[in-house]
Each structure stands twice: as structure tokens, then as C-alpha cells.
């Protein structure tokens, strides 16, 4: 039974991260996703510190703001202080991540809920320890699953209703501004969603490996998509495949579950890349051959 819940929860993590990752990737902002996922650490530590027990919803929201703050600092450094883009990203997230690490090592000594291992790998094998039980014995599933479902509802709703806006922003931001659209609002809306995704995924897959879910499936999907909607769909499919294959690989080899999932995701990426190149060169050869006769 715990197999089922782990795969289901991780699949929703993959969908949440993948959907948003598509827009990050198309906006050439993959690194910002990386930065936000690290930068939310101090927010998360504070949330754990004050809630004592496992996180409460309000504190998760607070942690989300840390990610938004990080993207705000990045924008400030690169636009106002004229620091080059990748340097402002590097400065911001390492600073916030280091702050989070110091908080863990001082406040969280001996705390069972959070340590550096959890930050790095997540606790996916243990999610069933924190379950939601109603009426004394009716088991509804692990808490992490419900947190992910709520995040999925928020992300799905935002992307569904804001689809035109996010698409326009990703393709041609200058043009969006020429229409009088407040691109700043849309930008921070996306950053808030990315931040939310990384915060809620933290318990499950850790702050570092969530980047793999954010970037790899969308990058794989982009190789073979000619439509944005197709890319979003394929991202989900690649993400879920990596979760399922990765889980059983991890059980078989007895290794880190999240690690195996991200590794499988990477292998799928290279598989698709190579497959696509072979198909392409075959097609060119055929066209060339046809041209000969």
C-alpha cells in the first residue's frame, strides 16, 4: 500500500513541477527555478521551527514568499544594480541556502523532522508515517499527498485560466508589454507558483532534486513537441514514467528513491534526444534519396 501512495504522491510532484518547468524553460529561466528551489530553505526552516510539529498551511505560505523574495532580489541585482544575470542568481540563492543551512545546524539540532539529508534527498520513503486518519481508523493517505493535491489544484487552476498570459510572456515578453499587459504581475505570479511547488515538494523529494523534476521532463518534451499543450502533456507523461520506473529501480537496487527517479528522468531525456536525432537524420537521408531520383 505504501508503494502506491509513494508513486502517486511523487507523480503529482512531477506534474506540478513539470507544468511550471515548461514555462520556465521556454522563458530561458531554468536557472531561476534552480535558484528558487534552494532559496526557499530558510523559509521552510522557519516554518518548521514555529510549527514545532509538521508544517501548517499558513507557514508553508510564508515559506513560499521566501522564493518570491529570492526572485525579487535576483531581478533587483540584474536590473537595478546591473550585475550580470547568472551572477545575480548565484549570489542570491547560495546566500539564502547558506542561511537555511545555518538555521538547521543551530535551531534544528536533534530535530527529527528536518536535517541536511532531508534537504538533499527528501523523505519520500517515509511519507506514510505522517498520515491523515479520520474517525479513528479510516486511512485517507499520507499528508504529503494531500498537500500536493492542493498545490496541484492551485497550479492547475492558475495555468488553465492564465494560459494565454503565461504563453504570451514565454514567447515574446516585449510584445506583451506593448499590448499594455503588466508583465511584472505575470512574472511574479509564475515565480510564486514555482516557489509554492518547491516548498511543498520539499518534504517529498528535497530541495535539490526537485530541480530535476522542474527541468528534465519539460526539456525532454520540448524536443518532440510542436504545440505548447502537447509539450505540457508530454511533460506529465515523461515525469510520471520517471517516477514509476525510478521507484522500482530504487527498490530493486536498494538506493535512494528520489535519486533513482531523477536519474531515470535524465536517462529518458538522453534516450529521446538520441532517438530524435536518429529519426531526423533518417528523414533527411530519405528526402535526400528521394531528391536523387
Amino acid at each position: 500500500m505504501s508503494d502506491f501512495w509513494i508513486i502517486l504522491t511523487a507523480s503529482i510532484v512531477a506534474i506540478n513541477a513539470g507544468l511550471l518547468g515548461c514555462f520556465l524553460l521556454l522563458r530561458k529561466m531554468a536557472m531561476v527555478g534552480d535558484a528558487i528551489s534552494h532559496a526557499v530553505l530558510p523559509g521552510i526552516v522557519i516554518a518548521y521551527y514555529f510549527s514545532g510539529d509538521k508544517t501548517s498551511g499558513l507557514l508553508l505560505l510564508g515559506a513560499t514568499l521566501t522564493g518570491v523574495l529570492a526572485s525579487f532580489i535576483i531581478d533587483f541585482l540584474s536590473r537595478k544594480a546591473k550585475i550580470q544575470g547568472d551572477a545575480s542568481i548565484g549570489i542570491t540563492y547560495t546566500l539564502l541556502f547558506a542561511l537555511g543551512m545555518i538555521m538547521i545546524s543551530t535551531w534544528m539540532q536533534g530535530n527529527v523532522d528536518i536535517d541536511m539529508e532531508c534537504v538533499l534527498y527528501g523523505d519520500i520513503a517515509l511519507i506514510h508515517m505522517d498520515k491523515i486518519i479520520v474517525d479513528g481508523n479510516l486511512y485517507l493517505g499520507p499528508r504529503a499527498f494531500f498537500v500536493e493535491i492542493i498545490a496541484f489544484a492551485i497550479i492547475g487552476f492558475s495555468l488553465l485560466f492564465g494560459f494565454k498570459g503565461f504563453k504570451l510572456l514565454a514567447f515574446n515578453i516585449d510584445y506583451a508589454r506593448s499590448l499594455g499587459i503588466n508583465t511584472g504581475k505575470w512574472h511574479y505570479a509564475l515565480m510564486t507558483l514555482v516557489s509554492l511547488t518547491t516548498v511543498v515538494a520539499f518534504e517529498v523529494v528535497g530541495a535539490v532534486l526537485v530541480v530535476g523534476f522542474l527541468i528534465i521532463p519539460p526539456a525532454t518534451a520540448q524536443l518532440v513537441s510542436t504545440k505548447l499543450k502537447v509539450m505540457l502533456l508530454l511533460t506529465c507523461i515523461f515525469g510520471i514514467s520517471a517516477v514509476i520506473l525510478g521507484y522500482y529501480l530504487a527498490i530493486w537496487w536498494n538506493v535512494s528513491i528520489t535519486g533513482a527517479m531523477v536519474m531515470v528522468s535524465g536517462i529518458i531525456f538522453f534516450g529521446v534526444l538520441i532517438g530524435q536525432r536518429i529519426l531526423k537524420s533518417n528523414k533527411q537521408n530519405v528526402e535526400f534519396a528521394e531528391g536523387q531520383f
Binding site: L26, K28, K164, L168, F171, S178, L179, K227, L228, M231
Partner: protein
């Protein structure tokens, strides 16, 4: 007869990291004409266009569209950015991109309706891309991509069109068809402002010219603007070299454009 004024720019100065890109530029542009903005590389042409569109904040001065603030006139002004300014590998079809011309500040949360679809189909046809309607934009030639951008601007149903180098990387046939389209637009009373760099074709293409080199050098009809004195002021020493190359090309009929094939 005095023409109605479409775009008014007053004492516009824009600096980038301390150095001025545009300095005290001041002009009024007539409506219903094809207007060319010319000047050497780095003379602030794109900056001027972006400032008129409100994408850049001027250090001083202001811009008026039909004697009103830009914020009230957004619906009546369309922008065609440089083709290289976007990533054409984006997963979208010709139809998808032209549909963006129907996006408005206040309809982003609504679905596109039948009228939008009709307008989009009509604009795709106008630029001659109907058979490529569902093709991904990455699989188009440079000239076709440029026409996608123009179709998107047409779909905005605006009155003023600002185009940044629409003839770059475009073959001669496409250049002609774009030009015909522009003339058709002018004849229905639209104003078209175009950044152009090919001095040879300037007098054939434009009714009105703005010659820039950080400062405004000259404006007016091509005959008035294209004097040796003005051009020397704008291009300095480069011009004689340019003129020599241009003459040589003309004499020998060298192909001067990137080869552009319809796929």
C-alpha cells in the same frame, strides 16, 4: 492641407548606463503615410521605437499618440519586434502566434471567440501563409517568420504600426509582397513606421523619413532628407564607403540578400 499628426515625440532623451542613446529628439509624424526611420548602426532607431511603444522609460521628454497618452492608445498601435528578438523554436504554430495579435490586456482570461479566429485566418491569408497555418514556426524560413510577425500585428487591427527591421533576412519576392501590403494599409489610412537600413531602397519605399544619429538629423520627404549634407551628418565617413559598395553591387547585380526559400 495639414495632415493629422499620428506620433508626436518631444525633447526625448534616453540614456543607457550614462551614455545617451537618443538626445533631445523632437518630431511630429503625419498620419496615413509609410514612414522610414534610418540611421547608422547604434543610432538609437530601435530605442526610439521601443520608447514610443512604452517599453523603455525616457530620461526626459514624452511621446503622444494621436495627441493622447500611450496608455489610452494601446489598442490603436501595433508593434512588430525584430525577428531575432524571439526564440522561434517555441512550440507554437503560425496560427497560435498570429492569434496573439488578438490578445488584449482585458481578455487574457477569456477564451478566444469566433470573430478572433476569423480575423486571424484573414490576416494569415493576407501575408500568404494559409498553407502553413498549422506548421510549427521553427519550420519556417526567415521571410515566412517575418510575415508571421506582420500578420500578428495586422490581427491587432490597429491604426499605427511600428515595425523594427521587417526586411532583414527576407528574399526579394517577400520584400515586394510586404511592401504591397504596407501600401494597401496606407491606402486605408493606416500609419506605418519602419526601421530600415538599406539606403538604396529608401526613396522608393517611404513617403516620409526620419534620419537619426542619436540626435535627429533631418525629417521630411525623401527628397528633403536625402541630401548629401544630411547623410554625411548622419553617417560621417562611413557613407562614401557605403555608397561605393552600393554602386558596385548595383553595377554587378550581386545577390545581396540571404537566400530564402519557401519550404
Amino acid at each position: 492641407m495639414k495632415e493629422k499628426c499620428a506620433i508626436e515625440v518631444h525633447n526625448l532623451t534616453i540614456t543607457y548606463g550614462g551614455a545617451p542613446v537618443l538626445w533631445d529628439v523632437d518630431f511630429e509624424l503625419p498620419a496615413g503615410q509609410i514612414i522610414g526611420v534610418i540611421g547608422p548602426n547604434g543610432s538609437g532607431k530601435t530605442t526610439l521605437l521601443k520608447t514610443i511603444m512604452g517599453l523603455l522609460e525616457p530620461s526626459s521628454g514624452y511621446v503622444k499618440i494621436f495627441n493622447q497618452d500611450l496608455s489610452k492608445m494601446r489598442e490603436r498601435i501595433a508593434y512588430v519586434p525584430q525577428r531575432e528578438s524571439v526564440d522561434w523554436d517555441f512550440p507554437a504554430s503560425v496560427f497560435d502566434v498570429v492569434m496573439m495579435g488578438r490578445y488584449r490586456k482585458n481578455n487574457l482570461f477569456k477564451r478566444t471567440n469566433k470573430i478572433d479566429v476569423e480575423i486571424v485566418e484573414e490576416c494569415i491569408e493576407k501575408v500568404g501563409l494559409t498553407e502553413f497555418r498549422d506548421r510549427q514556426i521553427a519550420q519556417l524560413s526567415g521571410g515566412q517568420q517575418q510575415r508571421v510577425f506582420i500578420a500578428r500585428a495586422l490581427a491587432q487591427k490597429a491604426e499605427i504600426y511600428l515595425m523594427d527591421e521587417p526586411f532583414v533576412g527576407v528574399d526579394a519576392a517577400t520584400e515586394n509582397s510586404i511592401l504591397n501590403l504596407l501600401e494597401e494599409m496606407r491606402n486605408t489610412g493606416k500609419t506605418v513606421l519602419i526601421i530600415h537600413h538599406d539606403l538604396q531602397t529608401v526613396s522608393d519605399y517611404f513617403d516620409y523619413l526620419v534620419l537619426l544619429n542619436t540626435r535627429l538629423i533631418a525629417k521630411g520627404t525623401p527628397q528633403d532628407v536625402l541630401t548629401k549634407e544630411n547623410l554625411t551628418n548622419a553617417y560621417g565617413g562611413q557613407l562614401t564607403l557605403l555608397a561605393k559598395v552600393a554602386n558596385l553591387i548595383k553595377e554587378n547585380q550581386f545577390p545581396i540578400r540571404e537566400k530564402d526559400v519557401d519550404l
